[in-house]
């Protein structure tokens, strides 16, 4: 964008005079009257007038000036106050100001190099923005305390600490580190055996042995999978739906794909490629990796509003992977980042050309199931019933389109103020015209208006006549046509003759006449084809005028040619009874497909549309005002030339490559920042899903680049990244406060200590289950919805059903993020309802009781029972004073006291905090 501006500036007349003229008369006019609404803060009508480039590009109505061309420069038209819009709206400019503008345009609109008019402080230059610079591989810095670092990461951290005169903290004790790294990597507490083994292992490899054990655990994928699912806005339902089943029955296959991939240490670039384009990679993905596409498809459904669904998909890819807020460019160019609306629609085109298959592909080997054959048979029967119903309704719709074309023409040409049916749903009675079809007919009529149309020219002329005296005026008009046939604008003779003899007296009659003609021509054609070839292919009517009429229903833009696949349910079935019937049939299919005996799990896949459509920019985000056509391609960001257009299908495969290209400065940085955040408690870049111009720079840029470059050079291995971080001495520091250090770096942005943290929702519940022996360690499978009921064996929290529309209260109470959108970072609030849940929830009570029961009185005297309860709940022995406090409590609190003691420990800060 800047390059373009610069190159334009070179072409401009650079005379001192021109600059003077601009400064003397043009800049004051623009600054005083225009920039407030057409500048960087506000862009009414999509128009900016703060740089020459912006003026030439123009707004929704087109370029504001045509340099040197007074007649076609819209800005002059507007200030002339001759027609709408009249600008500036508060009052006409003085004549000398208007003259100055005219002279300026006539002179080619000279604009001094580098001048951008400001309606606010200037933004930084995107070309120098840190996140858009190539990832560097900084050399490992020298540090004063050379004995402290264990790894290169430590050197990057220590250098920043030393620069600020800070020293790192002492190492945490071994049990603290073990608990920290265990929760961190698998989301569960270490077992007593694991603690003992680590305590006993005094070798140099003790720490790395623990890390290897944890990384090899299947629970690792569950823990880190859940972090990724926050980014992926994972949920098991669609949000509010109107006619459909609200459930995503197969969302869990995506969740399990994520767990599986992480456990296998699938390279991150490959992991991302599969999630964008598993169906079109080379080498091909393993078959079940098709479930990866859930990343794109598992978002909210916005009552099936296509623009919103695609927006959600652009958002999850751009913020989730690239750390860019591309969705900000839906209605206008991004206000801060170099993302023009064109680029948003380039990506839009990719997703608009990617469809979800009507029947999601099965996973695994379904045929192995004994009942599979029966399952398939019954499924086909139900699917056939659904398809037959839709086809019958489609046939009806097209029959109506032809038979009642007259009524549609009337409705389409009546200029009544009606709400935009793109935006809202009309419910029709059975006999009503289909409201969506009225729109389709209107579009079709519009398409016949632009250039002379031998059939519709009289229609458009007659429609304009006033109701009063219609018949007379129509006669005159038609007589005119007959009297003065224009060679270059012929009228279809059948149309002219029929209209003339019909003595049309109203719009309704006009439309009916057209309808009869078109329908009759269609019938004749039909009949002729039936006689000639049994109706297999169309046969032209012998009379050219009739043939021209017959072909109207065959025109590409005519609603009669809309295919079944181009109509959504509401378009096809605008009335309630048929909607209900469709829902019933669909439910029968879905129910069987999802849960019939022998039903295989399925992937929430995508496939490319057979022929990717052309994509246009939607001005102001409104699909009703299409702008310029844009190719499907990747974001340009700061590159001087737009990247090449995608050529293969929807372009998803190419998009996946572009996103994970090692030259892409964002993808690796964004991911290592997320991983760092989960390990250390705070990210290096404080806005993990926004690396744009408004984000704060990394607190330690060299460290970020070190992590990112190393991540890529080590084959995008996520497990390698974990090893590098958790085996560092930075990660091993104690979390204790040090007032002197806090005075220098109160937020610990430089990591002079470890950040003490609270367990998140999943780890809290999982830890409760783990210490009480209630945890069912099964990995993967369907989501469960009895998560919070007590029971002997309970699944890990990430398997709980996430209902987007109605998330159980306890989720949000414990800061589980709203799955409506991709989430970068969880809040960590401390509120009374969390305490209430721990105090009173039956599940917590049940876990406490299980601990007490397991440490039954046979454990001996009260003292050893206290010790046993401490060991079970907190995995350590109580100190002397703790035993005393507990004994006093046991003595005072009666027979239930052991369970209540255990319960108190489960609620304690020690239980939920990680030092």
């Amino acid at each position: 964008m800047h390059t373009l501006l610069a190159s334009l500036a070179l072409l401009l007349p650079a005379s001192a005079d021109a600059g003077d003229q601009f400064e003397r008369s043009i800049r004051p006019i623009l600054a005083e009257h225009c920039i407030a609404c057409h500048g960087s803060k506000s862009q009414k009508g999509g128009l900016r007038l703060d740089s020459r480039e912006a003026i030439v590009r123009g707004g929704d109505s087109g370029p504001a000036i045509e340099a040197g061309d007074l007649a076609s420069s819209l800005i002059l038209e507007a200030v002339g106050y001759g027609s709408e819009p009249k600008m500036p709206p508060k009052g006409k400019l003085r004549p000398e100001q208007i003259d100055a503008l005219k002279q300026w345009v006539a002179a080619g609109a000279p604009w001094p190099k580098t001048v951008v008019l400001e309606s606010g402080p200037a933004g930084p230059d995107p070309r120098t923005h840190w996140a858009f610079q190539p990832v560097s591989a900084p050399s490992t810095p020298e540090v004063a305390r050379a004995d402290w670092p264990r790894t290169s990461i430590d050197r990057f951290v220590l250098r920043e600490l030393e620069r600020k005169g800070l020293a790192p903290s002492l190492d945490a004790d071994r049990p603290t580190w073990l608990r920290r790294v265990t929760f961190d990597l698998i989301g569960l507490p270490p077992t007593l055996d694991e603690i003992a083994a680590f305590e006993a292992d005094r070798s140099d490899e003790a720490h790395s042995r623990v890390v290897e054990r944890l990384l090899a655990s299947p629970h690792y994928g569950e823990r880190w999978g859940r972090h990724w699912l926050d980014v992926a806005r994972y949920a098991d339902t669609k949000g509010y739906v109107f006619m459909q089943d609200p459930n995503y029955h197969w969302a869990w296959t995506y969740r399990d794909y994520v767990i599986r991939s992480l456990n296998a240490d699938k390279p991150y670039d490959r992991f991302i490629q599969e999630q964008i384009a598993a169906d079109q990679l080379e080498p091909a993905a393993e078959r079940d990796a098709i479930a990866a596409l859930g990343f794109i498809t598992v978002g909210s459904r916005f009552i099936n509003n296509q623009q919103d669904i695609i927006d959600d998909r652009i958002d999850v890819v751009s913020r989730g992977i690239l750390g860019l807020t591309v969705a900000c460019a839906r209605c206008h160019d991004h206000k801060f980042d170099p993302i023009p609306a064109e680029d948003y629609y380039s990506l839009y085109g990719v997703f608009a050309s990617s469809n979800e298959p009507e029947v999601p592909p099965p996973l695994g080997d379904p045929a192995k199931h004994a009942e599979y054959a029966n399952f398939e048979r019954e499924l086909k029967v139900r699917e056939a019933a659904l398809a037959a119903y839709r086809e019958s309704k489609y046939a009806e719709l097209q029959e109506t389109n032809r038979r009642r074309s007259g009524e549609y023409l009337v409705a389409a040409s009546s200029g009544r103020d009606r709400p935009n049916t793109r935006e809202f749903m009309l419910i029709a009675d059975g006999s009503d015209l289909n409201p969506r079809m009225i729109n389709a007919w209107r579009r079709f009529l519009d398409s016949t208006r632009g250039k002379h149309d031998p059939i519709f020219a009289p229609f458009h002329a007659l429609v304009k006549l006033p109701a009063e005296g219609f018949a007379k005026k129509a006669d005159a008009l038609l007589a005119d046509y007959r009297a003065k046939p224009a060679a270059d604008a012929p009228i279809n003779p059948v149309v002219l003759e029929t209209l003339s003899s019909a003595r049309i007296s109203s719009l309704t009659e006009l439309a009916r006449t057209y309808s009869n003609l078109l329908h009759s021509a269609h019938q004749q054609g039909h009949e002729l084809a039936r006689r000639k070839n049994g109706g297999k292919e169309a046969v032209p009517l012998p009379e050219p005028a009739w043939e021209e009429l017959r072909l109207v229903f065959e025109r590409a833009g005519c609603p009669t040619k809309l295919g079944l696949d181009q109509l959504n349910d509401l378009q096809l079935l605008p009335d309630r009874p048929s909607q209900a019937k469709l829902r019933e049939l669909r439910e029968k299919v879905e129910k069987w497909r999802d849960s019939g005996p022998g039903a295989p799990p399925r992937a929430m896949a995508l496939v490319d549309a057979p022929s990717p459509g052309k994509q246009r920019v939607f001005l102001r985000g409104n699909p009703g005002t299409p702008g310029a056509e844009v190719p499907r391609r990747f974001l340009r960001l700061t590159s001087t030339t737009p990247p090449p257009a995608f050529t293969r299908g929807s372009g998803r495969g190419e998009l996946a490559r572009a996103v994970t290209d090692p030259g892409n400065p964002l993808t690796a940085r964004v991911f290592v920042n997320r991983v760092w955040m989960h390990h250390l408690g705070t990210p290096l870049v404080s806005t993990p899903s926004d690396f744009g111009l408004r984000s704060d720079p990394p607190t330690n840029p060299a460290l970020l680049d070190h992590l990112a470059s190393r991540f890529m050079s080590e084959g995008w291995s996520i497990k390698q990244l974990h090893r590098a971080i958790v085996l560092s001495r930075t990660y091993r520091q104690a979390s204790l406060d040090r007032p002197d250090a806090r005075a220098i770096d109160p937020e610990n942005t430089l990591y002079w200590r470890f950040n003490r943290r609270r367990l998140d929702f999943e780890s809290t519940r999982d830890a409760l289950l783990a210490v009480s022996g209630r945890l069912d360690p099964t990995v993967g499978g369907r989501s469960v919805d009895d998560m919070m009921n007590p029971g002997p064996k309970k699944r890990r929290t990430l398997y709980g059903k996430v209902d987007r529309l109605n998330l159980p209260g306890v989720f949000r109470t414990f800061d589980f993020p709203d799955p409506a959108v991709s989430n970068a970072k969880r809040d960590q609030t401390t509120v009374a309802p969390q305490a209430l849940a721990l105090m009173n929830h039956p599940l917590v009570m049940d876990c406490a009781k299980a601990i007490a029961d397991a440490t039954s009185p046979s454990a001996g005297e009260p003292k050893s029972r206290v010790a046993a309860i401490y060991r079970a709940a907190l995995h350590r022995d109580p100190a002397g004073d703790e035993v005393e406090t507990a004994l006093a409590y046991l003595a005072a609190a009666g027979p239930e006291a052991p369970a209540r003691l255990a319960h108190a420990l489960l609620m304690s800060n020690e239980f939920v905090m990680i030092d």
Binding site: D308, T687, V821, D827, T829, M839, N840
Partner: protein
């Protein structure tokens, strides 16, 4: 922008220090707690603020007339021509098409339908209303600011509910109550700051109506099934049946001792303090909440005044919550969409009107006699209104109407005895001084002391606000 970085108060003592130094009640510290942004762009709350005491009271941008809000959500859409925007002229055309164009709504409508209720002039202001809200209008019309020129975007429930509640019809955004609670916190840390009462179940769109979306979960509305009378069914986890109260106290004392010991070795960590306090708050909440929801404690005379039916009970609970410092109470007419009377409007609206008229009239009287009406803003209305024409072929119900409808405000700085704007002669479309839902939001935020353009939250690279890029403060609505 609460996701912004932590802001030191004066360069020396950080807020976190202040909180850490406090021994009792972290929520009570620094009540003025709003850190004005230097540039005055947006209200800033530090991460420490919103995370450790998300509900601590905070001052708005400027002193607001209203301190708390009650939103009486007549879901389904009450008919304006049958309530506060009477159009006697409909009788002339009853059963016949209107002479003006019949605007397109969700279903097919045709002939004019006169209101079954007569029109009267009420109060000193002489504002006309039908007798459907006879008690409310007789006693309170001079305190009510009747906006007859409301309009929304579409005639469908779902997007209109979202627009009214979250300021956006499709995209996920925080609800109105969440924004207000985020902006002001709450006066009572022992109760949720934003309470939602709806009897028997959810309205359509369920919990999305009171979601906090990208705002922290603490700002989400707490749903109460107000048809329940058992406190255990009212608030999640509010009672522990297996643990008598005195035993729970003993257990929490033990917990406190355990936590204090743990904290001894871990100084200056506000997270630990906050969590210790949260158990004390929760303990008090159990009794306070039970008390707040126990409308049986109201004297018989008061119960009589509100009426014995569910609306009366809901509003008695509402008043008790407001007295205790709850910031925002949203009261729903019922699960589903009770006011959505496409058929038999006379019976259905009649029934709802009768119950709500008594309850609302009693509620406003009660607020006033307790001196609470001055700083409590009451908002009444649906997600849209209804058509003056009937759905054919019957002549007894009305379709949805977003072109024009009525809402009213009372108390909290709203101008009483005032009618703002007007619909056309039949009550179909707003034509004079039109007030869009965004304008209503902007105006209500103004009454609470907020510049709606500055109450923002940075998310996904944007500073979001309730009114998005819209909204105009309608100053004529203010006393």
């Amino acid at each position: 922008m609460a996701c912004g970085k932590f802001q030191p108060i004066d360069g020396e003592i950080s807020r976190r220090d202040l909180i850490a130094r406090g021994t009792m009640g972290f929520g009570m510290i620094g009540l003025a707690g709003v850190l004005a942004d230097d540039a005055g762009i947006s209200r800033r709350a530090s991460a420490a603020d919103t995370n450790l005491s998300p509900l601590a009271p905070r001052a708005p941008h400027f002193p607001g007339k209203a301190k708390r809000v009650v939103h009486l959500f007549m879901n389904g859409g009450p008919s304006q021509v049958d309530t506060f925007d009477p159009k006697p002229k409909l009788a002339e055309f009853h059963g016949k098409p209107l002479p003006s164009p019949n605007l397109r709504t969700e279903r097919k409508t045709g002939a004019a339908l006169r209101s079954p209720w007569p029109t009267k002039k009420y109060g000193k202001s002489g504002i006309e209303a039908t007798t459907l809200f006879e008690k409310t209008a007789s006693a309170h019309i001079d305190k009510m600011c009747v906006i007859r020129s409301m309009h929304a975007d579409v005639p469908n429930h779902e997007p209109s509910l979202m627009l009214m509640n979250c300021g956006e019809s499709r995209q996920p955004r925080p609800s109105f109550g969440s924004w207000v609670t985020y902006g002001l916190g709450s006066e009572n840390q022992n109760l949720p700051g934003f309470v939602v009462l709806c009897p028997n179940g959810y309205p359509i769109y369920a919990t999305q109506n009171w979601r906090s979306s990208f705002l922290p979960g603490a700002y989400q509305g707490t749903y109460i099934d107000s048809s329940q009378t058992d406190i255990r069914k009212l608030i999640e986890n509010i009672r522990n049946d297996a643990l008598p109260k005195d035993e729970q106290r003993k257990q929490l004392d033990l917990l406190r001792a355990i936590n204090e010991r743990h904290r001894r070795d871990r100084p200056a960590d506000p997270q630990l303090d906050a969590r210790i306090q949260s158990f004390e708050l929760a303990y008090r909440m159990q009794s306070d909440a039970a008390d707040a929801f126990d409308f049986n404690k109201e004297p018989a005379k008061i119960q009589e005044m509100y009426g014995k039916e569910i609306p009366g009970r809901q509003l008695m609970i509402t008043r008790r919550l407001l007295e205790r410092g709850v910031r925002f109470v949203q009261v729903w007419a019922g699960e589903g969409q009770p006011w959505d009377n496409h058929d038999n409007i006379e019976k259905a609206h009649g029934n709802l009107g009768r119950m709500w008229d008594t309850a609302i009239s009693g509620f406003l009287t009660d607020l006033q006699q307790r001196g609470m009406l001055d700083d409590t803003l009451v908002i009444w209305g649906g997600e849209f209104g209804r058509t003056p024409v009937a759905e054919l072929p019957q002549l007894n119900g009305r379709d949805h109407n977003h072109y024009g409808f009525t809402m009213w405000l009372a108390g909290g700085g709203a101008k009483g005895g005032y009618v703002h704007g007007a619909t056309d002669e039949f009550g179909f479309a707003a034509i004079e001084n039109k007030v869009h839902v965004h304008d209503l939001h902007a105006s209500v935020l103004h009454l609470l002391g907020f510049d709606h353009e500055r109450l923002t939250y940075r998310f996904a690279g944007r500073d979001f606000r309730l009114t998005d890029v819209h909204g105009r403060v309608v100053h004529e609505l203010f006393a």
